[in-house]
Every structure is written in structure tokens, then in C-alpha cells.
């Protein structure tokens, strides 16, 4: 049934449909509405789970780790500083190859403190060994959340579902929530292969020395690469159940003959769709990188085939280096057949509005020489002369 729901509420209900037995969370803007909605579902007996209101994100991650190892499906959500605080445990969960699902309500990272949306937080933990799936809209957030549990459990890897804070979490959109039957069919009860059980005691979290550490890292790396197959399978299977097609790795929208492409992650993709329609002009291919981990090298090469120029629009930067996503895109396209020139811009940092006009400015900007990476929406009037005021 199609209904208008706030993103957070939709995500909360999608989580409940997945029947995690343990949910642990600590409040942080803009994730709060998700966990508040889950708490309310639990309070209203619409959702049976152990809802653990922990004292920190660090403990939230630790609780879901413990719960998953004890054999339960487990879920948490956070953002920004919370992701930073739990980052030690995030690495640990992934290294232990434990399947949990986390919603990251993407937000800027302090300092300066800023509660609004960009993607610096999830990008900061991109090397933790988690799968990262980015959502362009709230329907995708619902569908990806459900798929994430299956992917996590089949791969024995944790999945971070990245949803832009406020832009998605706090906005109402008409969307379809699947039935419990559909979700149950898609996501059967799960038993972790290394469940802690007194009848067959295992030791998890062992000390691995130099003689064996490379092999653990290699296996982990391979597992994340191999997850691509499960991401694709989950998208396929879910679309046959839900009737909604969702691109597993990269969503490509635009005429085949387009020479210019714009790649982005998250809700800006919708803005660009609108802008392209609004401005018209030369054909532009829009790409939404849904799977950032594993990084879909082959899918990217296929999706960018025929492009002469590819603009990578970042929602986070790595100060002193390229944009984070652009660097990976450049690396992935290196050695491809006639790869496009890659242009790199940031936009919408710390929640700055990304208006339709950004689309036009991007297309205009690639006609002139640009730094390897710069914010397309930089307001130079705020800068001192020394800092590059006009």
C-alpha cells in the first residue's frame, strides 16, 4: 500500500518487518527519529524485540555485536559523531565477520559541529570492512534495509545502509511498505554459523599474530568483493517479490548516447534527475553509486562506457587529497577502454542546500580548467583575500 511516511518512520517499520531480536541504539541527530519510531513500535507491541537503549554509540555497536554472536539478528543506527565513537567496534564487527545491519543517517562530522547532512561519517569508516549501500530516496531506504539483512547474513559481513540525514530521514515521501509475508519470505530466520553456544563452544576474537594476520585480511577482502554477487541476488529477488526494480550496484539513468555523466551517492541523485529535466540541454547520464563497498569496478566501467567526461559529485572530502569517491572512481577506470575524463566537485557539505542550479554549474565548470577537486557551491565572498576571495 502506497503511503506517505517520514523516511525515519519508514525505515523503522522496515527494520521491524525484518524481525531483528535485538535493537540497540543511542540517540543522535538525525538518526533519532528512526530509533524513536522503533521504540514506539516496541512499546505498542507491534514489534517484538529486546530494545536496548545504551549509554553510547560505542555500546550500541558492542551490544549488536554481542547479540549477533549469541545468535540473534541485530540492528543499530547512528550518524556522525556516533559513527566515529563506534568506529573501533565497527572494525571489530567486520573483522569478526559478524552480520549486523546499521543505518547511518548521514551527517557532517565535527568540528565545527554541524548537525546537517553530508557523508563524511560513513566515508570515514569506509575501510572498516563493512558493506556500504547508499540510498537515493526513502523507497530505496526501505528496500535496501530489508535486502541488507539478507546480504549481511549470507555473506557474514555487516552492512551499513547510508541514508542522507534530514534530506531523507526527516522528509515525507509516498512509498510502499512491503507486507510482513513478503519480508518473511525474503528473509527467513537466521542462524549465525559461529553462534556462541555452550553445547559447541567456540572462541571468537582471537589474537592473530604476524604469521596469520595477512590471511585474515585477505579473506575479509575477498568476502567483501564476493558480496557483490549477494547484493545483486538480493536486489533481483526482492524486485521479484516487491515488483520494484532497484539497481543493485549502480543505477544508471540517461540516454545511451550521452557523452557526459554525473555520478553521485545518496539523495542528490534525485535533485540531479529533476535538474536534468528542468534544464534539458545536452544529454547527461546520471549514475547513482549504490554499492560503495564493495566498490563495483566492472559495473562502473560498464556504466561509464561511451562517456567522454564523468563528473563525480562528492558529499565529503578528504582534506589534502582528492574527493574520496572520485579517487576511487579514477582508480577503477584506470586501464578501462577509453575511460572518461573524471572531474571532481563537492557539494552540500554540512547540509548546504543543493539547488537545481548546481547541475548547470557542474556542466559549465567542466569546460574550464579546474582543480582536481573543489566545492562547486563554495561562497568565496566569505573568504579572506589570503584564502582566495575573488
Amino acid at each position: 500500500m502506497r503511503q506517505a511516511l517520514e523516511g525515519s518512520q519508514a525505515i523503522a517499520r522496515a527494520v521491524a518487518l525484518c524481525r531483528p531480536q535485538v535493537v540497540a541504539a543511542y540517540p543522535i541527530t538525525p538518526q533519532t527519529h528512526i530509533v524513536e519510531n522503533i521504540a514506539k513500535l516496541v512499546a505498542d507491541a507491534q514489534f517484538q524485540c529486546e530494545f536496548v537503549s545504551v549509554e553510547s554509540e560505542f555500546s550500541a555497536a558492542s551490544v549488536v555485536l554481542g547479540a549477533a554472536c549469541a545468535g540473534s539478528r541485530a540492528y543499530t543506527a547512528s550518524a556522525s559523531q556516533g559513527i566515529m565513537l563506534m568506529s573501533e567496534v565497527l572494525y571489530n564487527i567486520a573483522g569478526l565477520r559478524v552480520p549486523v545491519v546499521l543505518t547511518c543517517a548521514n551527517r557532517a562530522v565535527s568540528a565545527p559541529i554541524n548537525i546537517w547532512n553530508d557523508q563524511q561519517d560513513s566515508m570515514a569508516v569506509r575501510d572498516a570492512g563493512w558493506l556500504q549501500l547508499y540510498c537515493a530516496d526513502n523507497q530505496e531506504a526501505v528496500d535496501t534495509t530489508i535486502q541488507a539483512f539478507r546480504i549481511a547474513e549470507r555473506c557474514e559481513l555487516p552492512v551499513m545502509v547510508c541514508v542522507d540525514g534530514f534530506t531523507l530521514t526527516h522528509t515525507l515521501e509516498p512509498l510502499e511498505l512491503p507486507s510482513q509475508e513478503a519480508v518473511d519470505a525474503f528473509l527467513p530466520p537466521y542462524a549465525f554459523s559461529r553462534t556462541l553456544d555452550p553445547r559447541a563452544p567456540l572462541s571468537l576474537g582471537t589474537l592473530v599474530g604476524p604469521d596469520h594476520f595477512t590471511e585474515t585480511r585477505y579473506l575479509h577482502h575477498q568476502a567483501v568483493l564476493d558480496a557483490e554477487k549477494e547484493i545483486i541476488a538480493a536486489a533481483r529477488d526482492w524486485s521479484s517479490l516487491s515488483g520494484r526494480m532497484s539497481a543493485p550496484l549502480i543505477r544508471v539513468d540517461g540516454p545511451p548516447g550521452a557523452r557526459i555523466g554525473i555520478l553521485t551517492l545518496g539523495s542528490v541523485f534525485g535533485t540531479l534527475l529533476d535538474a536534468r529535466e528542468h534544464f534539458g540541454g545536452e544529454p547527461v547520464r546520471l549514475l547513482h553509486l549504490r554499492a560503495f563497498r564493495p566498490f563495483p569496478v566492472e559495473a562502473l566501467r560498464a556504466a561509464t562506457k561511451g562517456l567522454s567526461d564523468l563528473i563525480v559529485l562528492e558529499r565529503a572530502i578528504s582534506p589534502g587529497a582528492d574527493g574520496i569517491v572520485a579517487a576511487e572512481v579514477r582508480s577503477a577506470l584506470m586501464g578501462a577502454d577509453s575511460p572518461p575524463r573524471v572531474h571532481n566537485f563537492a557539494a552540500g557539505l554540512g547540509g548546504r542546500d543543493v539547488p537545481l542550479a548546481v547541475y548547470a554549474r557542474l556542466l559549465e565548470a567542466i569546460g574550464t580548467p579546474q582543480p582536481r577537486m573543489s566545492p562547486i557551491d563554495l561562497d568565496r565572498s566569505q573568504l579572506s583575500a589570503a584564502a582566495g576571495a575573488p
Binding site: 565477520r97 557474514e156 554459523s193 559461529r194 572462541s203 571468537l204 582471537t206 592473530v208 590471511e215 585474515t216
Partner: protein, 560 residues
């Protein structure tokens, strides 16, 4: 190479492949160390062993362990001055184990239950050894010979076996029936020829000719000569004959007041007997009271308990005094002049009794009774006695120059002069005789040093009061009735539990409990063998040894 698992999971039991024993520089070993009570027992008993069995509830086993050393526990449990208790480490903790009462109870219990002495069958070709004297030394020797598969023929001048136990020990200390019962049971295991005096009825030559070996234990029957400055009262009685008369007939000549001279058991018994007849009794000795730390040579030979009881019964004890002059009226004593003395060490092993002028006092008494010891009655053995009238023997009891001639008991030079000392002499001689007869070289006795008090770990024990027996109050002590009631079975059991088990594993599980490496394993085996160290994993930390309450575990260096 092991195959890497997802998340580097590991499986139970896998650490066992890592043998940490290689880290060790010292290994714990179990080693029995003699308890001080063992070292302190003249009979050679190991009280720690049999008290431990009592604590475990194995009463018969305890008695058997006890009589493997001392066949007369009901007797020694009563009359021995129990130096074992003086050396008991529990004494330094709270108060010593009442070993004598455990021993006494075991002896009584064995008689009550009529347990047979555990003895091997006597082989047809068993040799026979003559034992002269049926006192404690002779009986012990005969019994131990029998245990070793050798027949014993005991001869004694008296009609009944028992020696001094029978002739000179008052029944308030050793009831007749107790003595009869235990000696009777023992005598059933040996042959006895009563009414037979050496020198009168049989000669030493005959004995040495007819028997495979001879053990001489005639005791000391001849009172030492005594005088003060060459003067002796005309009506002088020596203590031993008086005592023997009292033991045999319950009578002594009427004496109103007396000074007993001497600090040994005879002196004390004499004093107590006279006190029972209503006499005013003084006891004068140049020794000091026995107490922990007082050298044996300086202390009264009588047991502290007996001295105390004598005093309770009205005897006045004058320690470190001597008779300076006899005050005579004619040849009869009317008093003595005492003087304070001190036994001062002179050259090696010798003491000089030094009187102190100006400390003289006078006691008005009508008798002076010397109890200054006896010597061996030499009849039939004159050629063997050393200069001072005793047998000089080597450590095994052998008379030098005579392969098959052994001696012991009170007749031996340097004897303890106690029943348990005599029992020990008899056992040692029996072992030497057996070695001699079987042609085996006897291992020289090498008793390890007993465990020190600091060798125990007392943190694992609790204070507990010593079981005290009921003793008749002085005003109710009759002539014959036994004074000390001993302990009941339950009291003995509780007392045994107090034993610190010095140097002997008591299977307390402590080593098993404190090992951080589970390298101590527990087995179904008797204490002492119950724990096994798995040296594959033992890192040699030493906790088991340090925490062993009884000092049964030692760390042995492995680096060299």
C-alpha cells in the same frame, strides 16, 4: 600451517598442543618429610601417620600403623612423657595434638575390638633369638623379631612379663588390667620362659650357643649408692624397693615426712605414693623443670604432667636444690639442709653442680629417700658391662665385639630411661638382628631432618582447642584408680583432625586448587599419591609448593 577460519575462530581443546612445561626452571616434586613428632618419639613412632588415619576414619589402619612401630600403645599412651607433643608444631600454633591420648585410645580400642597384631606367618625354618628381660625393651624386641619372621624366646626372672611396667608403675598411672591386656596380647605372639634368671638358671654362654642371637634387656635393678659427705642414715630406704612394695602389696612403712632426692619418674612416683599415705613430702632435685627449649640434660626426667599432678597432690618440689647436710640425731634423720645449686656446663657434655653459699635452708623430715637411679644388676653379664655399669652398644644395639649379642632398654648406657625409649631400643635391635641373621647389610638409619615450623603454611588451618581429658581432682585421687580418663572416640576423632600433618600429604586439594595451569591432576589414590603433576604444562611457578599447607612439595632446580 593451520587453515585460516572466518573471523579467526578457534576451537576448544586446541591450547593443549602448546606445552608450556618448556618454560620451567624448577619442578615441583612430592617428598615426604618427617614430622617433628616422629623425630621426637624415642620409640620411633610416626604419630603424624596414624593420627592422620584416625582423622580419615581408618581406626584399624591407624592402630596397625602404630603397632608396626610400638606394640604397647595402651601402655605408652599412658606412661610415656610424650616428647612427641613437646615437638608438635601445633604447639607453636595453638596447642599440641594430644598424641598420647590418640595412642592410648587406639591401644584400648584394639584390645576392646580384639584386633590381632598384623604378623606374617612364621616360616618353618625361622630362627630363634633369645631375649633376656620381659620389660618394654625385651617385649618390643621379641615382637619386632616376630614381625620380621624370627621366633623370640623371652626369659625373665619374674613369673609375669612386663618388667618395670609391672613392678614399679603405680596403677593410678597404669591400671593393672590395661597392662595385663596389652602384654597378654603381645605375649601370645612370642615364647616366654618365666622364673629364669641369667647367671642363676641359665648362662650367657648357653644362650649364645643355643640361640641365633641374644638381646639383653635386663633393665636397671640395683639402686645406686647414695650418701651425703659419706654419711648415710641407718634406716635409709631407696625409692625403687619402696615403690615395688607399694605396687605389689599396696603398703609402705609408715613415714610422716620425707625428702625424696631425684627428679626422675621413680622420684615423682615415690613422692606421690607417700603423699597418698598422708606423708608430708618434699622432692629435691638439682635439675630444672622440663619445658620447651630446656636442654634434656638440665631438666627433670619426669614428665611435666606427672610433676604437676604430684604438686597437686601435695608434694613440694624444690628444683635446683641439693641436700647440703643431713641433720641426724644419732643415725636417724631429723632434717636436711638444702642449698640452692645450679648445673653449670663445663667441658663438652659435662656439667658440674655448683652449690651457692648463703642459700641454705632447713627441712625437718623423718626420712630421706634417694631416687637417684639404678644400675644394671650384673649377675651373669659381668664381662659385658662397661665401666659405669651399663652396656655400651653401637647405634644398632650391638655389643661391640659380639656379632650376635645386642642390648638395649634401661640397661644401655645413655638410655632415655623411659618406656618408649626402651620400645625403640627393642625395635632397633630387632632390625639389626634380622639384618645380621639374613646376612644383609643394614642400611644405616638416616632420618631426614624433620620439617621446620616455617616449612608449613599455616594460613590454611584454624585455631581449635586441644581435647583435654578428664583428670580426677587431687582430693578424689585414690590409691589405685587411674587419674586420667583419656578421651572418647569422638574426642579422639576431633583431636586427630587438628593434626597439621607436618610433611605428609593430607590430600587437601590445595595444590590442585591453586595451580593456574591445571597442571596438577587429581587421581583416585591414597593421600601422598593423589596428585600428579603434568609436566607438559607445569610452568614451575611454585605456587603449589608455597601454598602446600604441610610442606609436602619441594621445588627442584632444573637448570643444571
Amino acid at each position: 600451517m593451520p587453515i585460516m577460519t572466518p573471523g579467526a575462530v578457534a576451537y576448544p581443546g586446541t591450547s593443549l598442543t602448546f606445552k608450556t612445561g618448556g618454560w620451567r626452571t624448577a619442578r615441583p616434586v612430592h617428598r615426604w618429610v618427617p614430622a617433628p613428632c616422629h623425630a621426637g618419639c624415642p620409640a620411633g613412632e610416626d604419630p603424624c601417620g596414624y593420627v592422620g588415619l584416625v582423622a580419615e576414619g581408618d581406626i584399624k589402619g591407624a592402630w596397625e600403623r602404630l603397632v608396626a612401630i610400638n606394640p604397647l600403645p595402651a601402655v605408652t599412651g599412658r606412661v610415656c612423657d610424650h616428647p612427641c607433643e613437646g615437638s608438635c608444631h601445633r604447639g607453636a600454633y595453638d596447642s599440641p595434638i594430644a598424641i598420647h591420648n590418640v595412642e592410648r585410645w587406639l591401644g584400648d580400642e584394639a584390645a576392646r575390638a580384639a584386633w590381632a597384631y598384623p604378623l606374617p606367618l612364621l616360616p618353618a625354618e625361622a630362627k630363634t633369638v633369645a631375649v633376656v628381660g620381659a620389660g618394654p625393651a625385651g617385649l618390643s624386641c621379641a615382637y619386632h623379631l616376630r614381625r620380621l619372621g624370627i621366633r623370640a624366646m623371652v626369659i625373665d626372672r619374674l613369673p609375669l612379663a612386663g618388667g618395670t611396667l609391672r613392678t614399679a608403675l603405680p596403677s593410678y598411672r597404669l591400671p593393672r588390667e590395661v597392662l595385663d591386656r596389652e602384654v597378654e596380647r603381645l605375649m601370645a605372639t612370642v615364647n616366654f620362659l618365666p622364673h629364669t634368671s641369667l647367671g642363676r638358671d641359665v648362662t650367657l654362654e648357653e644362650l649364645t650357643r643355643e640361640y641365633a642371637a641374644v638381646f639383653l634387656a635386663p633393665g636397671r635393678q640395683q639402686p645406686r649408692a647414695w650418701d651425703v659427705d659419706g654419711r648415710v642414715p641407718r634406716d635409709l630406704h631407696a625409692a625403687l624397693p619402696l615403690l615395688e612394695a607399694w605396687v605389689a602389696f599396696g603398703k609402705v612403712p609408715e613415714i610422716h615426712s620425707a625428702v625424696i632426692v631425684g627428679g626422675g619418674n621413680s622420684a615423682i612416683d615415690m613422692a606421690r605414693v607417700l603423699a597418698r599415705t598422708g606423708a608430708k613430702v618434699h622432692l629435691v632435685t638439682h635439675d630444672v623443670r622440663p619445658a620447651p627449649g630446656v636442654p634434656r640434660d638440665l631438666a627433670m626426667k619426669a614428665a611435666p604432667r606427672d610433676i604437676r599432678q604430684a604438686e597437686e597432690e601435695g608434694v613440694t618440689v624444690h628444683v635446683e636444690h641439693a641436700i647440703h647436710h643431713l641433720i641426724l640425731r644419732g643415725e636417724k634423720v631429723v632434717g636436711v639442709e638444702l642449698v640452692r645449686v645450679k648445673k653449670l656446663a663445663r667441658d663438652e657434655g659435662h656439667y658440674e653442680i655448683v652449690p651457692f653459699e648463703g642459700t641454705e635452708t632447713v627441712l625437718h623430715v623423718d626420712q630421706v629417700i634417694p631416687a637417684v637411679g639404678q644400675t644394671v644388676a650384673p649377675e651373669g653379664m659381668e664381662s659385658l658391662l662397661a665401666a659405669r655399669g651399663f652396656f655400651a652398644v653401637d647405634g644398632t644395639g650391638r655389643v661391640p665385639g659380639h656379632d650376635a649379642l645386642f642390648a638395649g632398654g634401661d640397661a644401655r648406657a645413655g638410655a632415655w630411661g623411659t618406656v618408649s625409649g626402651a620400645v625403640g631400643d627393642g625395635r632397633r635391635a630387632a632390625l639389626a638382628i634380622e639384618a645380621h641373621l639374613s646376612g644383609k647389610a643394614q642400611e644405616p638409619a638416616r632420618d631426614a631432618e624433620p620439617i621446620t615450623f616455617s616449612g608449613l603454611n599455616l594460613n590454611y588451618f584454624e585455631h581449635a582447642a586441644r581435647a583435654e581429658e578428664i583428670v580426677l581432682p587431687p582430693d578424689r585421687r585414690l590409691a589405685l584408680e587411674e587419674i586420667a580418663a583419656g578421651l572418647s572416640g569422638p574426642e579422639v576423632a576431633l583431636e586427630a583432625v587438628r593434626c597439621l600433618s607436618c610433611g605428609t600429604c593430607m590430600a587437601c586439594d590445595n595444590c590442585w586448587t591453586v595451580c593456574p595451569d591445571q597442571a596438577v591432576l587429581k587421581m583416585h589414590a591414597p593421600a601422598g599419591m593423589r596428585y600428579l603433576t603434568d609436566y607438559d604444562y607445569c610452568k614451575g611457578c611454585g605456587l603449589c609448593a608455597h601454598e602446600c599447607p604441610v610442606g609436602f612439595i619441594a621445588m627442584v632446580d632444573e637448570t643444571s
